[in-house]
């Protein structure tokens, strides 16, 4: 197997990467701290990264804590996911104008923005690939998604310390990044050492390394990085066997256990907002006061809302239980029927950001154990 060249980057070399792309008309997006959480937003330099910070996560719990080193990527994932750029929370699909009693429709998405995603984790790459399939792989596609996706330069980062809620090893989507990147960085940080091993994953990535003139990494430098990545798999606090999740969930629609697992659910929809693969959206048609200009707007939606499944007279899923069931069965079971893979990438966000700490992994285990077959 041909081994890609590995490059050595000093920590502040990353600034050169950001500049490289900025000068080529890209916007750099990466992790940064805002309102005591690590989110994805525009960054100008490595100083915008959460240097020396880590995130403590548990069901319904998220706190930032200072590390005892100055790692750039010493945390896992926060409430944002990259879907906010590729599949924006609000997007105007068209404008329609009334003229002489008739109307015409105009496409308004002509911009051609280019993005660099900095610090994408393995689970997030899997999530992006899943959304690629949804928005770009069916009979009907979303041209806005495809355009944005084509304009992304993806700088991935290997996870070396899984978070408490992470279970990507169980979903087969991490912790190691194996594909889907333009550049893959692995951070090595010791008492006296701090550097990155960078590996190109595409022509554009190779071009960046070469143009910026980074030197190739030494064997021992690569070995240190590999050590950290290899050890990550042993550090998981959370795991679940997903082999029969698809069957178990679809065979248990009427299991009374659903009432129990959903009894705390507030249907707030946090899980669907933070989930990197959730794609449900709604279409709103609005008009200005004069009724001359109308717009069609696509917004993120959540299957937890009361009227998500509304049809003449009422909602199909009116109870909290049915809406929780819809989400969990979709994520871990029917998603596979629809798209050929599970909808869950094991990032743990839904567990962290649920205000009442509902745990999808624990719930699945309950169903697997449940002997009630109706």
């Amino acid at each position: 197997m041909k081994r890609e060249r590995s490059f050595y980057l000093a920590p502040y070399d990353l600034n050169k990467d950001f500049e490289y792309f900025k000068s080529r008309g890209y916007k750099d997006f990466g992790p940064t701290i805002r309102d005591e959480a690590i989110v994805y937003d525009e960054i100008a330099s490595v100083d915008d990264l959460p240097v020396g910070w880590m995130d403590e996560q548990a069901p319904g719990f998220y706190r930032l804590k200072k590390r005892n080193d100055k790692a750039f990527f010493g945390y896992v994932v926060g409430p944002h996911s990259w879907k906010k750029f590729l599949f924006p929370p609000v997007l105007t699909l068209f404008e329609a104008k009334r003229e002489n009693g008739k109307f015409k429709v105009y496409d308004v998405n002509t911009a051609n923005e280019k993005y660099v995603f900095v610090g994408v984790r393995a689970c997030e790459i899997s999530a992006i690939l899943i959304q690629d399939k949804i928005f770009g792989g069916g009979q009907y596609t979303d041209p806005n998604y495809i355009k944005r996706r084509g304009n992304v330069f993806l700088i991935a980062v290997n996870c070396t310390e899984p978070g408490n809620n992470c279970f990507c090893a169980s979903t087969g989507t991490g912790p190691r990044v194996v594909a889907g990147f333009d550049v893959l960085l692995t951070e090595v940080i010791r008492d006296d050492l701090h550097y990155f091993i960078g590996v190109p994953g595409s022509e554009k990535g190779e071009e960046m390394f070469v143009t910026l003139g980074f030197r190739e990494a030494e064997e021992f430098e690569i070995k240190e990085a590999e050590k950290d990545v290899n050890e990550a798999i042993n550090k998981f606090k959370r795991s679940v066997d997903l082999t029969d999740a698809v069957e178990v969930l679809q065979e248990n629609y009427e299991n009374p256990l659903w009432e129990k697992v959903s009894e705390k659910c507030l249907t707030c929809g946090n899980c669907t907002m933070v989930c990197p693969t959730c794609f449900c959206n709604t279409i709103e048609d609005v008009t200005d006061l004069a009724g001359q200009v109308a717009k069609r707007i696509r917004r993120w939606d959540s299957c937890f809302t009361m009227d998500f499944s509304y049809i003449h007279g009422g909602s199909v899923r009116y109870s909290v239980m049915s809406r929780y069931r819809q989400w969990m069965v979709h994520k871990l079971s029917t998603w596979k029927n629809q798209f050929g893979m599970l909808g869950c990438v094991g990032c743990g966000r839904c567990i962290t950001w649920c205000p009442v700490g509902i745990d999808i992994v624990e719930n699945l285990k309950l169903f697997k154990e449940s002997t009630v077959k109706l």
């Binding site: 699909l93 048609d285 299957c303």
Partner: protein, 286 residues
């Protein structure tokens, strides 16, 4: 009407952008149901669809709804929809007049398998406005009448005033090769026809269960009971087809609203075989 090419959007590039159609005729069918005949504003454009498919119809500034196509698939210059006024958009649509414009996206969805068998009996069971998405199948079948053995329509409406396509039903009744039975849930004075739910017409309908395909459309409860009656008579679950309905926002399988278990009603349906849905259709809140 004069419209510049640059401004009309080509639907193939973006399935969320509607094509503009003009209302060519409007007919009030019952107190709350009306039929619109639409024609593309762009000259020379044909609208081709299969019986059972639907369009997403857009009323300027108000919204978009999925409406089954209820016209003749052979007539490609126009597309017809029969709509019931139940919500904001359909009520606004009901106020539109001949000459007004409507946005159209489609046709979407699966269709009635009208070619599934040759020489079989075809039984069409319609409840209420369920007759609308079945009408294109009826046209198709009557055009190729020799491909089928018996053709039977069982139609249930709420009251005699709610019967759709009254003239057409009379015409169909007068055909010797099409057996049409109409019943109402509630008779009114002067109604000399059947009274009772449409499922009561099934035990005596003259079809051979071993050689029958059935197309059923109406409220979900009606479709469930109809399917059970057909199965009771010996029709195979694989030969019973229903048309499902769920909340739809995009019509193209990308918004998630119309999911029914593992399927999207907008793209895996709305027409399903009974065997495909029987496991979920009796479960609540799926």
């Amino acid at each position: 009407m004069e419209v510049s090419e640059r401004e009309i959007l080509v639907v193939e590039k973006n399935p969320m952008l509607p094509q503009i159609f003009q209302i060519r005729s409007r007919k009030q069918e019952t107190s709350d149901t009306f039929t619109l005949e639409l024609e593309p504003v762009e000259a020379g454009v044909e609208f081709i669809f299969k019986p059972g498919q639907f369009n997403m119809l857009y009323v300027f500034g108000v919204g978009e709804v999925p409406i089954s196509i209820s016209g003749d698939p052979e007539k490609v210059s126009r597309v017809t929809h029969t709509t019931r006024m139940v919500g904001t958009v359909t009520k606004a649509m009901g106020k539109l007049k001949k000459g007004d414009l409507i946005g159209v996206r489609g046709p979407f969805g699966s269709s009635w398998p009208v070619d599934k068998c040759s020489g079989c009996d075809v039984v069409i069971v319609a409840g209420g406005i369920g007759l609308a998405p079945l009408r294109p199948a009826i046209y198709y079948i009557l055009r190729r009448r020799e491909n089928y053995n018996k053709a039977i329509l069982l139609y249930g409406a709420r009251t005699p005033d709610d019967i759709l396509y009254k003239h057409e039903i009379e015409k169909w009744k007068s055909r010797f090769d099409f057996e049409v039975y109409v019943t109402v849930d509630r008779g009114t004075s002067g109604w000399k026809g059947n009274v009772g739910v449409v499922t009561t017409l099934i035990p005596r309908a003259p079809f051979d269960p071993q050689n029958t395909i059935a197309f059923v459309c109406g409220p979900e409860i009606m479709m469930r009971f109809t399917a059970l009656e057909l199965i009771k008579r010996g029709v195979s679950e694989n030969n019973i087809f229903i048309s499902m309905e769920r909340n739809m926002k995009c019509g193209i399988g990308l918004c998630g609203h119309c999911q029914f278990g593992p399927v999207f009603v907008c793209k895996d349906g709305p027409v399903f075989s009974y065997s495909q849905v029987k496991n979920l259709i009796f479960k609540r809140e799926i």
